[in-house]
C-alpha cells in the first residue's frame, strides 16, 4: 500500500505531468481560459488517460512483450490513444453536446496530448504492475486536472488585471505557469 501512496504523491505533486515534465502543455495553455472548459478538459483527458493506461498495459503485456516486438510500442500505443479519443469525441458529441462545443478544437488535440502518451511510456519504463500502472495513470490525470484548474483560476482573475499590451494572452499564461512550476519544484524533495 505504501508504494501506491508514493506513486500517487510523486505523480500529483513531485513530477507533475505538466509543470515539471512538460507534457501536455498545448491544451494546458489553450483551454485554461475558463474554469468550466478546463474542468471539462480535465475530465476528458483523465478518462482517456486512465483508459489508455489500461489498454496500453494489456497490449504491451500480452502482445508486445511475448512476441518481442517492443519497437512497435510507440505505433501501437498511439493507435490505441487516437482511436480512444475518436471514440470519446463521438460519445461526447452524442451525449454532452454543450461540453463538446465548449472543448471544440481541443478535443481532437487530446490525441496529440503528450501527457497521454507520456504516461503510457512512463508506465512501461517503470515496468509497473497493472494495479500500479492504473494508480499512476489516475494520479497523473489528477495532477493534470489540478494544474489545469489552478491555472484557469488564476487566468480568470487575469482578465481584469491590467497587463502590458504585448504580454496579454499566451505570454502571461506562460509566466504564470513558470511561477506555478517553481512552487511545484518545492515538492521535489518530499520523498
Amino acid at each position: 500500500m505504501q508504494e501506491y501512496l508514493i506513486i500517487i504523491v510523486s505523480a500529483v505533486l513531485i513530477n507533475n505531468i505538466v509543470l515539471s515534465q512538460f507534457l501536455g502543455i498545448c491544451p494546458f495553455l489553450g483551454v485554461s481560459k475558463k474554469l468550466s472548459s478546463s474542468l471539462g478538459m480535465g475530465g476528458a483527458v483523465s478518462f482517456v488517460l486512465v483508459l489508455s493506461g489500461a489498454i496500453t498495459w494489456v497490449v504491451r503485456h500480452y502482445i508486445l512483450v511475448p512476441f518481442d516486438i517492443g519497437y512497435m510500442q510507440t505505433v501501437a500505443f498511439i493507435l490505441i490513444i487516437a482511436s480512444l479519443v475518436q471514440f470519446v469525441e463521438m460519445v461526447m458529441r452524442k451525449f454532452t453536446p454543450p461540453l463538446y462545443k465548449a472543448l471544440g478544437i481541443y478535443l481532437p488535440l487530446i490525441t496529440t496530448n503528450c501527457a497521454v502518451l507520456g504516461v503510457a511510456i512512463i508506465n512501461v519504463q517503470k515496468d509497473f504492475s497493472f494495479g500500479k500502472a492504473m494508480t499512476h495513470s489516475l494520479a497523473h490525470s489528477a495532477g493534470f486536472t489540478l494544474a489545469l484548474v489552478l491555472m484557469s483560476g488564476i487566468r480568470e482573475r487575469m482578465e481584469d488585471a491590467d497587463i502590458p499590451e504585448s504580454m496579454q494572452g499566451t505570454p502571461i499564461a506562460l509566466v504564470i505557469a513558470a511561477l506555478m512550476s517553481i512552487s511545484f519544484l518545492g515538492f521535489s524533495g518530499l520523498i
Binding site: L19, S20, Q21, F22, L23, G24, I25, C26, L29, G30, Y71, M72, T74, V75, I78, L79, I81, A82, S83, V85, Q86, P108, L109, T111, T112, N113, C114, V116, L117, G118, I121, P164, E165, S166, M167, Q168, T170, P171, I172, A173, L174, V175, A177, A178, L179, S181, I182, L185
Partner: protein, 197 residues
C-alpha cells in the same frame, strides 16, 4: 499561394512555436542546450516532411471518419523509424533527447499540419509547407535554447562563455523554459505591433 509563400509563411508569419503556439511540449523541455534544440528541430523536420508527403499522397483515399487514427499511425511509424536510425547512428544526440523522440508523434504541429494542410493540398505545396514549418520550428527552438543555455549554463553550444559562478540554474529547470518562451512571445508581440499594423 505560390510555393515560395508556402515555405516562407512557416518561418515568420505562421511560425509554429511563436505564432500558433503549438509544439510547446518538446520546445520547453528539450531546449536546455542549443545542440539538443537543433537536434530536435532536425529530427522534427525530417518526420514532418515524410508524414506530409505520405498524407498528401493518400489524402483522397482516407475515409473521413478514421482520418485522425490513420494520420497518427503514419506519423508514428515515421517517428519510430527516425528513433531507430538516431539510436543507431547518432547515439549521443539520441541519449540527450531521450523520451522526447517518441513524443514527436504527439507533437501538435505535425498532426495540425497534416489535418489543416497536407490533407487538403497536393504533394508539392505540402513539401514546401513541411520545410517551412520545420525550419521555423528549428529556428524557434534554437532561439529558446540559446537563451536558456547562455543564461542557465553560461555556455553556448558547449563553449563556456559566462564564468562558472554567474549562471542562473533556474533557466535550465522547467520554470526557465516557461519564462523564456513567455518573454520571447511578448517580445515578438511588441515587435509585431511596432512594424506591421
Amino acid at each position: 499561394m505560390s510555393l515560395m509563400q508556402e515555405f516562407t509563411k512557416g518561418i515568420i508569419k505562421e511560425n509554429p512555436l511563436f505564432r500558433l503556439v503549438l509544439g510547446t511540449c518538446p520546445a520547453l523541455a528539450v531546449t536546455t542546450s542549443v545542440e539538443n534544440g537543433l537536434g530536435m528541430g532536425a529530427a522534427f523536420t525530417g518526420v514532418l516532411l515524410a508524414s506530409n508527403i505520405a498524407i498528401s499522397l493518400m489524402r483522397s483515399i482516407i475515409p473521413a471518419s478514421v482520418r485522425i487514427p490513420a494520420y497518427v499511425v503514419i506519423i508514428a511509424s515515421f517517428v519510430t523509424m527516425t528513433d531507430q536510425l538516431m539510436h543507431a547512428f547518432t547515439p549521443s544526440l539520441y541519449k540527450a533527447l531521450g523520451i522526447f523522440i517518441p513524443l514527436i508523434v504527439v507533437n501538435c504541429i505535425i498532426l495540425g499540419r497534416a489535418e489543416a494542410f497536407a490533407s487538403r493540398n497536393s504533394v508539392l505545396p505540402s513539401i514546401m509547407d513541411a520545410l517551412g514549418m520545420g525550419l521555423g520550428f528549428t529556428i524557434a527552438l534554437g532561439l529558446v535554447s540559446a537563451f536558456r543555455e547562455v543564461l542557465g549554463a553560461g555556455s553556448f553550444l558547449g563553449i563556456q562563455i559566462l564564468p562558472e559562478s554567474i549562471p542562473a540554474i533556474l533557466m535550465i529547470l522547467p520554470p526557465g523554459g516557461f519564462i523564456t518562451l513567455g518573454c520571447l512571445l511578448a517580445l515578438l508581440n511588441k515587435l509585431q505591433k511596432k512594424y506591421a499594423w
